[in-house]
């Protein structure tokens, strides 16, 4: 079953919001889903009202097995479990550098969980370290949220160049526009330009709206707290589009 990473080298592009909402939608379809919070900020963990593990160590995380399975928590929602984030994840790159097959370690750690879950969704930190290489190898699909701004696009191009240089499969990159303000001409022009340039971009765009910002207040995914909102609709469209791509493969 597929592992989906929500990843970008740039911060503040809506990775955690995407991970939290897509994990919820996957679980709502009846598929057993695990959301792994790999970000030391543990925002996804916070959104799901789970207390982050403060005592665990990055070394223990990359050992996998009981160190992972013992930490998984059920969420407020059926079929959705969470592997909480930890402040110690900031040391993941260092810990990975100490072990053999350092680039495959995340894939090996997640492998025993594949049988129990239909989807594993990774909420990734904005980094281009060994952690990023682990993510690029472990995930079957990399969802890349991009704000339609120059810097965000530049970061995406850098990521693509990095993947090409390292011979990572670029076919699994599924980029889409996030935090879109259609009232801004810059956003509209940038998207028009990118859709013309890159046919492989996902068509769904996630708007920059209050409901998504309110997730921190509600501590719940948007489709659960505001099911009829445009943001919830947008995430539903995104999830369907992702599922279509997964099924086509």
């Amino acid at each position: 079953m597929p592992t989906l990473a929500i990843y970008h080298t740039k911060g503040g592009v809506g990775k955690t919001a995407t991970a939290v909402n897509l994990a919820y939608l996957a679980a709502q379809s009846g598929a057993h889903t695990l959301l792994c919070d790999l970000d030391p900020q543990s925002s996804a963990t916070f959104y799901y009202r789970v207390k982050p593990k403060l005592t665990s160590k990055a070394e223990a995380f990359i050992k996998g097995g009981k160190h992972i399975e013992g930490n998984i928590k059920g969420t407020d929602y059926e079929h959705l479990d969470l592997l909480p984030g930890s402040l110690s994840h900031r040391h993941l790159a260092l810990a990975l550098a100490q072990v053999k097959r350092s680039k495959q370690r995340l894939r090996e750690v997640l492998e025993p969980l594949q049988g129990a879950y239909a989807y594993i969704i990774l909420d990734c930190p904005p980094t281009l370290t060994l952690v990023a290489e682990n993510i690029l190898l472990a995930a079957d699909y990399i969802l890349v949220p991009m704000v339609p701004t120059t810097l965000s696009l530049r970061a995406y191009q850098q990521l693509c160049a990095f993947c090409a240089k390292k011979h990572y499969d670029q076919q699994k990159m599924l980029a889409f526009f996030s935090m879109v303000e259609k009232g801004k001409k810059l956003h509209r022009d940038t998207m028009d330009h990118m859709f013309k340039q890159c046919s492989e971009l996902l068509h769904t765009t996630i708007p920059y709206v209050t409901e998504i910002e309110k997730m921190g207040l509600m501590r719940a995914p948007v489709p659960a707290s505001a099911p009829n909102s445009p943001a919830a609709q947008a995430y539903r469209h995104l999830w369907h589009e992702v599922q279509d791509r997964v099924q086509q493969a």
């Binding site: 009202r49 789970v50 930490n71 928590k73 059920g74 407020d76 501590r219």
Partner: protein, 506 residues
């Protein structure tokens, strides 16, 4: 919501009071109540229940569960209620139930509505730490009637097992008990259905000292019960096994009348043997055709792939013939002749035992009569089998098959009088021998009948010619199978004869 630990609620429970009680001690979040409709299925002879399986449909999903209710073994999407195995989409569920239900139809045994109210127990962060499901079950046909079962499901949330344990203890302290009874069983009790109530097997216990005529009547009454129980199923043409069980019960009745010579007056025995010979004969044609139609897949697989479709006209013909024969059978089951036979038989079985026995053997203890019959039947099988070892002959094999059948019937009728382990071993060897002889006999009959069917396809038509060729290939394949069955006979007979020689069962 997947289910977890089930707590039975007291009969006088009120949902509002329960929720108030929960609120007084815990921070809870009650969710919207929803209704789930469940329809439960099993075969007429409870094949799924006998294997501790439960098959139900809910919201276009077919679920196969273990009778302990917590385990879903397999599921399949099913927009319409299933009747036969072929109606169920291929996959794990179909594979699991195929060897259990075989050709039997699935009957709707219970339709119920579960009124479900999810409740979550929250911690200080308003995070769900325990999931509950309050379930109130009513019969779908009587939704306004009082519920037949109410329960509270407790499902621990992963990573919060301590909280679930604590809550479970709280419920136990309140006097609520953990239950393992499936609501399906509670529902069946509510509609007054007894799971496992029907079986085509003889399940009566006879006292060794009981008068022979009374003991025989106990078993004959059980057989009559089976005959009557299957009649409606035959008339409604639900599946082929109603007729099969009916015929077996009729055959057993005739066999018991034959085996209990001089237990009943000779004229009575002769009269009823004739009656049941008539009843058996009126079902022959439909059953013969059923057997061919049931074997369609096997016959087709025996043919080389390029000619498989050529056999199809034969099955079209068989279906047409079956429809005709079935109409005749139903007419006969509704006839005065059959009603008279049934009345006579019921009246005879209902008669109280006469103070003065009508025959010499009638008042003898049944154990003595049975022992004598068993000795004679065993001797007969060994003699006929030994002759068969020296010279193989279709007629003699048939006679041996009948002798085995008679012995098996006596063993089954009076199993409660015989030593358990020894009898079980003897039956095991006898069954293996019977399977072999049965396969041989079936192949002989199938070849003969196919030869007859072939005459229906003689003609100038090209398709008829192809069908004839396919039948010819099929007959060759059946001959090969017959030879294989013949080769296996000596070893199976030797094993059975040695069991007779070394263990004095009777």
């Amino acid at each position: 919501m997947e289910k977890g630990i089930k707590f039975t609620l007291p009969e006088d429970f009120h949902q509002r009071e329960l929720i108030q009680d929960l609120q007084a001690y815990h921070c809870i979040q009650q969710e919207e109540t929803f209704i789930k409709r469940y329809v439960y299925y099993d075969t007429f002879d409870w094949r799924l229940y006998n294997k501790s399986l439960v098959l139900c449909s809910t919201a276009q999903t077919l679920l196969l569960q273990a009778l302990d209710e917590t385990t879903v073994l397999a599921r399949a999407t099913m927009p319409v209620p299933p009747v036969f195995l072929s109606d169920i989409p291929g996959g794990s569920l179909q594979e699991k139930i195929a060897p259990v239900i075989e050709m039997r139809a699935l009957l709707t045994l219970l339709a119920m509505e579960a009124q479900c109210t999810p409740i979550r127990i929250l911690n200080n962060d308003a995070k769900t730490v325990v999931r509950l499901l309050l379930e109130v079950d009513t019969l779908a046909e009587a939704p306004d009637a009082p519920p037949f079962a109410s329960c509270l499901w407790l499902k621990p949330v992963r990573g919060y097992e301590k909280e679930a344990k604590k809550f479970s203890q709280w419920l136990t302290h309140k006097g609520w008990t953990v239950s393992h009874e499936h609501c399906y069983l509670q529902g069946l009790a509510a509609v007054k259905k007894q799971p496992g109530a029907y079986s085509s097997k003889i399940r009566v216990h006879v006292q060794p000292t009981l008068r022979a005529d009374e003991a025989a009547k106990v078993i004959l009454r059980e057989l009559l019960h089976i005959i009557q129980g299957n009649t409606e199923g035959i008339k409604n043409d639900i599946d082929t096994e109603f007729l099969h069980d009916f015929r077996v019960a009729v055959r057993r009745t005739r066999a018991l009348l034959s085996q209990m010579k001089e237990v009943f007056p000779a004229d009575v025995t002769a009269r009823f043997k004739k009656d049941f010979a008539y009843v058996g004969a009126m079902t022959n044609r439909v059953r013969d055709l059923d057997v061919y139609i049931l074997h369609k897949a096997r016959y087709t697989a025996l043919l080389p792939a390029p000619v498989r479709s050529d056999i199809e006209p034969l099955f079209v013909y068989l279906q047409r013939e079956r429809a005709k024969a079935f109409r005749t059978l139903v007419r006969r089951l509704d006839s005065k002749t059959y009603a008279d036979i049934s009345c006579r038989w019921e009246a005879f079985l209902g008669q109280p035992p006469a103070a003065h026995a009508a025959t010499a053997k009638a008042s003898r203890p049944i154990i003595k009569v049975v022992r004598k019959r068993l000795r004679r039947r065993c001797r007969s099988v060994v003699q006929l089998g030994s002759q068969q070892l020296t010279e193989t002959d279709d007629q003699r094999l048939h006679a041996l098959r009948i002798a085995c059948k008679k012995l098996r019937y006596v063993l089954e009728f009076f199993v409660s009088l015989l030593p358990g382990k020894k009898t079980a071993l003897l039956v095991q060897h006898l069954r293996a021998l019977q399977d072999n002889l049965g396969a041989w006999h079936d192949l002989v009959v199938q070849q003969e009948t196919l030869r007859h069917f072939a005459t229906m396809f003689v003609g100038p038509d090209q398709q008829q010619h192809h069908t004839l060729l396919a039948i010819d290939i099929l007959m060759h394949r059946l001959e090969e199978e017959k030879q294989t069955a013949g080769q296996a006979f000596p070893a199976l007979f030797a094993a059975f004869a040695s069991r007779i020689a070394h263990h004095n069962v009777v």
